[in-house]
């Protein structure tokens, strides 16, 4: 006689989420499909937001824990925006990403977070960032006389604006930073970079561990406060 697998009936994930996220409205789903119809990730890996909620409610825990859709869904929250019942689909995806053991997560994603915790997502030494900024500024001074007074302040205590720079620019396309400096200069803005925690990205938001996300945010916040800048900006 074949043994029937009763484990889906236990729906452990659902039980867990109902307890850990009592406001997630998980059981309110009407299966209307508004979420799936406006989701650009629908049908990829055989999944969409409506199916995702059905699987969760019906206890298909293993399928949800193992689907690569967790890394295709960008938690853009358009499904939640469309959902008439206010179901927080993205929060379940986020939780599942965090439940995955680190060694089973996409390597580059986890690595970006690990590097981020050391200061920036690319692993470039802080001294290199400072050097690149100075070098590019010198180039502008040498080649563009109309911008001879352009500045790129570093660790300026009490500046009005603290600017976090995405690590992509100093490492891959440093000339892109100059546009930003020119705008700030033309507008007469008092601003500064920091020589540490200068990366405006935070890949730990995507790997799934709230503790990592919190740590990086905390370090960035302490840096801004240590400089005494009243306003934080980044590149967007």
């Amino acid at each position: 006689m074949t043994e029937i697998d009763l484990s889906p009936l236990r729906a452990e994930l659902k039980k867990h989420f109902l307890k850990s996220m009592p406001n997630s409205n998980l059981e309110y789903c009407l299966t209307c499909g508004l979420c799936a119809s406006g989701c650009p990730a629908s049908d990829i890996e055989g999944m969409d937001p409506r199916k995702f909620i059905r699987y969760l409610v019906l206890g298909q825990d293993d399928l949800l824990k193992n689907t690569n859709w967790l890394y295709t869904c960008s938690i853009c929250q358009r499904c939640e925006y469309a959902c008439p019942m206010g179901i927080h689909v993205g929060r379940f995806v986020y939780e599942l990403k965090g439940m995955k053991p680190k060694e089973l997560r996409p390597k580059n994603l986890q690595k970006s977070c690990e590097l981020q915790k050391e200061g920036n997502s690319t692993g470039v030494p802080n001294a290199d960032f400072v050097w690149v900024v100075g070098d590019i500024l010198e180039e502008v001074h040498a080649n563009e006389p109309e911008w001879a007074d352009l500045k790129a302040p570093m660790d300026k205590v009490g500046a009005q604006f603290y600017l976090n720079q995405n690590a992509k620019e100093p490492t891959v396309e440093p000339e892109e930073m100059v546009f930003l400096w020119k705008i700030l200069h033309a507008a007469g803005i008092d601003w500064t970079y920091s020589s540490k925690w200068w990366d405006g990205a935070n890949y730990c938001l995507f790997s799934g561990d709230p503790k990592d996300w919190e740590y990086v945010t905390r370090m960035q916040a302490e840096t801004v406060d240590a400089l005494g800048c009243p306003t934080y900006i980044n590149t967007e």
Partner: protein, 167 residues
Amino acid sequence: MLFATLEGLKRFKIPHDFEVVSIISLYAKWIREGRLKLDPSWNTEGLKFTVQDPCKLVRQSLGDPVADDLRFVIKQVCGEENFIDVWPNKSNNYCCGGGGGAIQAGFTENRMKHGRMKFEQLHTTGADVVITPCHNCHTQVKDICKYYGGKWQTTHLWNWIVKALVR
């Protein structure tokens, strides 16, 4: 990314003495106050511009006001008549497929499939330039343009502000 900081400070109740502001809204403010003077007359060929609203910045953080500021700045740069909006847009916009760590995660084929709707949406505008304030969007919009055979140029906003800048 502004969302990671803004939401992180809130969610983890991290004490701080500063305010987090979008630089896009500051550009708009500085233009309105006359601190930044822009002139779109450089755009003699009538280059058409459109925009990618970053999900995390718009829908999940600051809402339509920052999307409106974004459009205001772009129009100051390229000329009102040269901006073509996408549909749906602002808080209701589609994700480009590059967020959530998808670029680092490595499932490239899935990422391109995810970007198909965004490609069609941008392609329909017929724009020559797609402005992408978010770095993830920037990489993804560039990648889907190449993958699906688009012809637009994917750029940040700052390049064009400097192009239109009057000093």
